[in-house]
Point group: C2
Chain length 345, copies 2
Amino acid sequence: MVTIKQIAELCGVSRGTVDRVLNHRGNVKPDKEKLILDMAKKLNYQPNPAGKALTARRKHPVVGVLIASEGVRFFDDVLVSMRKAARQYEAYGLKVIWRSMRGFDTKEQCALIDELRPQIDALIINPVNAPAIVKKLNKLIDEGLFVVTVNNDIESVHRHCYVGSDYMNGGRTAGALLSMIGPKSLSTAVLLGSHAMLGHRQRLEGFLSVLRNHPDFHYLGAQETEDDDMVAYECTRTLLSEHPETNSIFVISAGAYGAARAVLASNRTDITMIVFDTIPSTIEMMRRRVIQAALYQHPHQQGRKSMQVAFDYLVNGIPPERSRYLMHNEIRILENAVGGTAKID
Amino acid sequence: MVTIKQIAELCGVSRGTVDRVLNHRGNVKPDKEKLILDMAKKLNYQPNPAGKALTARRKHPVVGVLIASEGVRFFDDVLVSMRKAARQYEAYGLKVIWRSMRGFDTKEQCALIDELRPQIDALIINPVNAPAIVKKLNKLIDEGLFVVTVNNDIESVHRHCYVGSDYMNGGRTAGALLSMIGPKSLSTAVLLGSHAMLGHRQRLEGFLSVLRNHPDFHYLGAQETEDDDMVAYECTRTLLSEHPETNSIFVISAGAYGAARAVLASNRTDITMIVFDTIPSTIEMMRRRVIQAALYQHPHQQGRKSMQVAFDYLVNGIPPERSRYLMHNEIRILENAVGGTAKID
DNA sequence: TTGTACGCGTTATCAT
DNA sequence: ATGATAACGCGTACAA
C-alpha cells in the first residue's frame, strides 16, 4: 500500500517527479530516476485503482461495441451481461456506444467501424473474417485503439485480447458426450454454419477426432446451414429421407431449432441430438425430448469479461492478464439448463 | 454522472448539506432535504465508486475468512479465487484475515470466530450447522457485522448473503444424467457425507425425485461416509459384495476417490459413477474410466463472488443484489473437465 | 442548521 | 529538470 507521496518523501523529491518517472514521461535526471524506480520496486508500488479511476473521468474514455448480433439469440445473453457491466462502469465515467448488425457483411462492418472510429478509445468486436476487416483493424490497433475480439477470433489481427469459446474443446466434448448418451452404433450427421468459419471447422475437427476412436461410428458428413433455421430444417429433412439410418445429429452452431423441427416433422423419436447454446428454443426442444444435450459456452461471462478487459485498460491502465480468455464448454441437459439457479455474473 | 457538487450547485446549498441528506445524517431543514432528495432522484444520482473507495481507505475495512477447508480439496479452488479477488481489493485498502480449520467441530469454530471478531468488519464463513454457531452469528450480525455464508447455508442465520451450491438442482441433474448415461435398468447406491448436512439431504432428495419416474430404478439406499475416502472405500467394498447387482453409484459429496478405488479393487468395470467436483483425484478416475461424470459447482465463482460481495459492501457501501447467489451445476466429463481452456474468474 | 476545508491517490498544468 | 498546485468525487471534522 505504498503511495506516490510516500515514495516522493523517501526519495526527497516531489510527487510530480515520481509521477513523471513512473509514467515514463521523461524530464527527470537519470540518477533520480533510478533512485525512484528502485524505491518503487523495492516497496512494490501498486497504483491505487480508486485514484486512477477518479482521474480517468477527465479523459472521458469511450468504448465502442460492434456485434453481429441481430437475429442470433446467443448474443442476447452476451449483450445482457455486457450491458450490465457497462452500466456498472459508467459510474466510473466510462461511456459505451452500441452498434449491432445482422449477418456477416464485410462492407457493412467496415462502414460501422469507420463510423465508430473517431469517437472511441476501445473497440469490442465480433469480427467478420475477411481481409478488409483484418487490414482495417490492424491499422486502428497501430494507431492506438484497444481492440477486444469476442466470440470469434482472427489470428492475423493483432488484437489485444480475445474473449470467447474454445472451439476445439467444444467439438471434442460433444463427441465424447455423444458416445456416452447416444446409441451403441452411431450414424451421425453434422450441421454447421459455414466451413468458412474457423470456429465451426475447429469444432468439427474436435468432434471427429474423438469419434474416430469409436468402435462403431458412421459419419454421414457435414451440411452447411448458414446459421439459418429454415436451411437447417431443409437439410435435416433431406438428410433423414436420404439417410434414414441416421440416429444422431450434431449441430455445431445456430440452426438447432430448425433441425429439431425437422426431426419432429419426420416422426423420428430415436435420434440423439447434441447442439450448442441453451437458448429458449433449444430448451423447448429439450422439453419435447428432441434435443438431449446442449453445450453452453458461457455467454454471460463472455459479455462481462470483454467489457471488463476494456474498462481495466482504459480506466485503470491495466492490460489484460491473458491474450485469450477461453470459456469452458459446459454440458447441459434439461434439468440443469434452466430455472432454479440465480444468475451470476 | 451527476456529482454531489453539481446537485449542491443546482439546489443552491453547500456540498456538505447534500452529503448529509444523502447519507441520512440529519441536521438539514425538511424543505431543503426534500429539494435535495428530489433533485438527486430526478438526476438519478449515483455515487462514483472511485470516490467512495478512495475515502474507504481511512476506515481500514477488514474481512475475516473462516473456512473448514483443510483436507477438502474442493475448497482449494474456492480459496484460490478468493485470494485472487482479495489481492485485487487490497489495492483499494481492504485487509483480509485468513483462518482455516479441519472438520466441523463446533467448539473450534466458535473459538475462531471469537478470535476474529474484534478485528473484522465482515466475515466470510463456511458455517457449522449447530445451535451455538447460529446463536453466535446472529448476535454478531445484530452488532453490525456483515456476514457472508459460503458453500453451505443455515436458514436460521440472518446472514446478509449466501454464495454457494444449488443442492436440490444438483441432485436432480445427477439423476437425469444417470438415466441418460447409465444402464437401462438401474440398481443404484448413494454415498453421502452425512444426513445431518442439509445440502447433502437436498441433493439426495433431488436425485430420487427424478429417478422415481424412471421405469426401472432400484434404489439400494444411501450410506454415510463422513466425507472420508477410507470410509467411502469400506462402504463401497461392502456394498459391492452384499449387492453385486449394483450397477451405478452416486457420490453426493466428498469420498469419490475412495469409492472409485473400491470399484477398481472389486474388479467391476460395469458401474456408472456420478460424483461431485472435478478435483484431481476425480479426474484421475475419469481417465481410468471408473468415474463417468462429475457435477461442477463453480468453486472459483464461489470464491470470487463471496469476496466481491464483502468488498462492495465495506468499501463501496453497496449491499448485495441478492440474498443468495446460487451456482449453476455443470456436467463435466473427461473431455471438458481439464486442460486446454484458460481459467476465467 | 449550514458552510468550509481537508484528505484520500493520481494526474495535468503552470511556474520556476 | 523540478516543484508546487489544482482538480477529480466523496466523507467528515469543524467552524460559523
